[in-house]
Amino acid sequence: MKEVFLSNCEKSFIQKIISEGHRLDGRNYNDSRKLSITFGSGYGSCIVSLGETKILAQVSCEVVQPKQIRPNEGILYINVEISPMAAPQFEANRQTDLTVYLNRLLEKCYKDSKCIDLESLCIVVEEKVWSLRVDIKVLNHDGNLIECASIATLASLAHFKRPDVTRSGEKVIIHTLAEKDPIPTVLYHYPVCSTFAIFSNNILISDPSFIEESVCTSNSEEGNINGGLLVVGMNQYKELCLLNLSGAAIYNTNIVHRATLSAADKCKSIVDLIKKAIIDDDNLRQKRAKINFGDIITSDHLQSLSRKDLSICLKNFDVKEQTLQNETADSMDVDISMEPSKYDVVPSLPQTAELKAKKGASTWIEISSESEEED
């Protein structure tokens, strides 16, 4: 993997603005980027995008022999792939540290937490079980891959339906989707991971973007890493499923506590979003509507393939305000009914003019009362 080089000025700038309470793209410390979940035409495929980070997950199943130590349980495999499509520093077909890290975290979150009922995947004890395989492909890397990958895994597992099976004596019949309705996976609980970047002075940033992640885990001038990334996995019942820290060691337990509190609300809302998306998708499929990934690509528009939010943004800057302002400006030109000015411009000294209030008007110059308050 080619190293991405971070310049000194980027590092010091990001650390400075974060310590002053701002973020590069105008979000608050605990704001997340826009999350959108789109399902594909087959069961179990979905694309999740968190800001510009995009991940595709696909669940497939096949009948295999179960493991010797667990003869009545199905098997779950999780496989993560990062190709040069995600970012230019990745090499094709090469397992990097990042891939192994993602793989391990997702296994901890979904296999070790026993969120899937593996016993329901059993067909014939000791002989045939379903093996579910989740393939995760990173389409674009703009920071916070873990959160996006975990949402993609969860959404695709919850969306997936396996073929129905009937046993008659010795025979086992696997029905096609046309013969019998497929069966959804049984999930006991819905765990989701949430990432926090820890900067010096115990500042917690949720949903770090690529540059924030890089600065956080980079070497400072002394040569050691000052910050770290904390991954908290929780389910909708606010139970902790996963805790992982990379980077500098935390010497303040308060950070973990704050992170878990913040993650609890966030994970619950994400799980609600996933469930709602699945219900909506179900309704559409019952009406036999065609669903495919093509819906997330908007064509015939100049900016259809560009990023929707600016990567560098002031806190209150709104892109849509631009067009709104233009429209109001146009409409104002149409009906010109300006209120008469309360002030006269009067020449006083040579080459100087003065604002003099007309009779009856106050001499205080009015300032717009819309001054916004600092948070």
Binding site: N8, H22, S306, E372
Partner: protein
């Protein structure tokens, strides 16, 4: 299908108009066009443009930089090796910047450049067969605006945006220059360096530049006013 100036073209199309003009006078073909035998083929998707007299090129959206001679670029020093600095400019390989290519540098007097510094340099040598070379002085040995850029913030954008804001007709820098003091350096490799007095002002300039990519002149002016208003509302 006949291709004319101002059309959206795809690689593989060929423009007869250029061949016709070439019979009468000298024609300059720019990026995105290539002469094969007797025809001029289009090699990049975009809009075919012409400038008088008889200069043709294709305007295409591009983020990946291909080093070319004479351009000012912003690079990050990644390594010190022997007599040169290795500078990453976003091309396929790192560029070389000699120790002696700084103003007032001699063998005994080395320039103060550290790994991780941002430099504004000019491409001296750039071809597809050799590693690119940069210099931080002009041909008279004067520094000019080149050299190490200290503090500030550097970010990436598309090459089209750089060309757009460097165009003298673009109102972006004109609208911003009266609002608050700042320094900006635009490298033709798709990188911009900004420095202002406070970090909010730096972010505001970055916001204005990135936001101007798809706006026309009027909209750019109103966006700059909007940004100045937001900044003035929170003087911190």
């Amino acid at each position: 299908m006949k291709i004319s100036i101002g059309d959206v073209v795809l690689p593989g199309d060929y423009c007869e108009e250029i061949s016709q003009v070439a019979e009468k006078s000298k024609v300059i073909i720019g990026p995105g066009l290539r002469k094969e035998v007797d025809r001029v083929y289009i090699t990049k998707p975009g809009v075919l443009k012409k400038r008088n007299p008889s200069t043709f090129w294709v305007d295409s959206y591009q983020k990946r930089y291909v080093p070319s001679r004479g351009e000012n670029v912003i690079g990050v020093v990644v390594q010190k090796a022997g007599d040169i600095f290795r500078v990453e400019v976003g091309g396929s390989i790192t560029a070389a910047l000699s120790y002696l290519s700084f103003e007032g540098a001699t063998k005994k007097n080395r320039p103060e450049v550290q790994v991780g510094d941002v430099v504004y340099a000019k491409m001296l040598v750039a071809s597809k067969d050799m590693e690119p070379e940069l210099v931080c002085v002009d041909s008279h040995g004067k520094k000019g605006r080149l050299g190490v850029l200290s503090d500030g913030f550097v970010f990436k954008c598309s090459l089209n945006l750089i060309r757009k804001i460097l165009n003298p007709n673009c109102p972006l820098l004109e609208s911003l220059k009266n609002e608050w003091p700042f320094e900006v350096a635009a490298g033709m490799n798709g990188r911009i360096w900004i420095k202002a007095n406070s970090m909010r002002e730096t972010i505001a300039v970055g916001n204005a530049i990135l936001g101007a990519e798809y706006l026309n002149d009027e909209e750019i002016r109103s966006m700059c006013n909007n940004i100045a208003a937001i900044l003035a509302g929170h003087v911190s």
